[in-house]
């Protein structure tokens, strides 16, 4: 069974540009989470989807970040316009349901904003 996949693995963009990150969860997993780790600090929660609905987006930094999960399968996280402080590693995780909520993480997308 394929795990959580994310792409690109690395993105280098200039300040002010737009970047879209994609996450493909494990097939059948209703829950999808986005996290990010900035500057070697702790991994921080961004948001949580249950199927196509945003369950909790309390961790989204500001309105430059937009996450979608159309159809309840893969998810995208768009940053527009990107700022220097957005640099970091963005992780996606998925879990089957809240009763069996071990989260399986992707390898992450390293975003570098220059």
């Amino acid at each position: 069974e394929a795990g959580v996949t994310q792409f690109p693995s690395h993105s280098v963009i200039e300040k002010g540009q737009t970047v879209t990150l994609r996450c493909d969860p494990i097939s059948g997993h209703d829950n999808l989470y986005w996290y990010r780790r900035v500057m070697g600090k702790e991994i921080k929660f961004l948001l949580h989807f249950v199927k196509e609905s945003k369950q909790d987006e309390s961790g989204m930094p500001n309105n430059r970040f937009l996450a979608e999960r159309t159809g309840g399968t893969y998810s995208t996280l768009k940053v527009q316009p990107a700022e220097l402080e957005d640099s970091g590693v963005y992780f996606c995780a998925s879990s089957l349901n809240l009763a069996k909520n071990i989260q399986y993480f992707g390898a992450g997308t390293r975003l570098s904003v220059l």
Partner: protein, 111 residues
Amino acid sequence: GESVGLHLPTLSVQEGDNSIINCAYSNSASDYFIWYKQESGKGPQFIIDIRSNMDKRQGQRVTVLLNKTVKHLSLQIAATQPGDSAVYFCAEQYNTGKLIFGQGTTLQVKP
């Protein structure tokens, strides 16, 4: 707000020795904790979990201890191997699944 923290950013141990990685949390209502291992170039990987109604849980070569009185948990790795070299995170998991991570301890295993 709630926080989960680790005591040491880096821990260096000799191969074959036991490793102990510590973590403190601030929310006394926290009831579910998880340890993750992150190897270079990979995402965090679940190692072991513990609920607040337990004070100890054992896995294969790993043990997690929870002390609710002082709000402290630890991860013990027996007979540490080179493959154990990684960054270890403790995390609190909410009922919604949201994870609150600590900052991570880098475990270096010397041959």
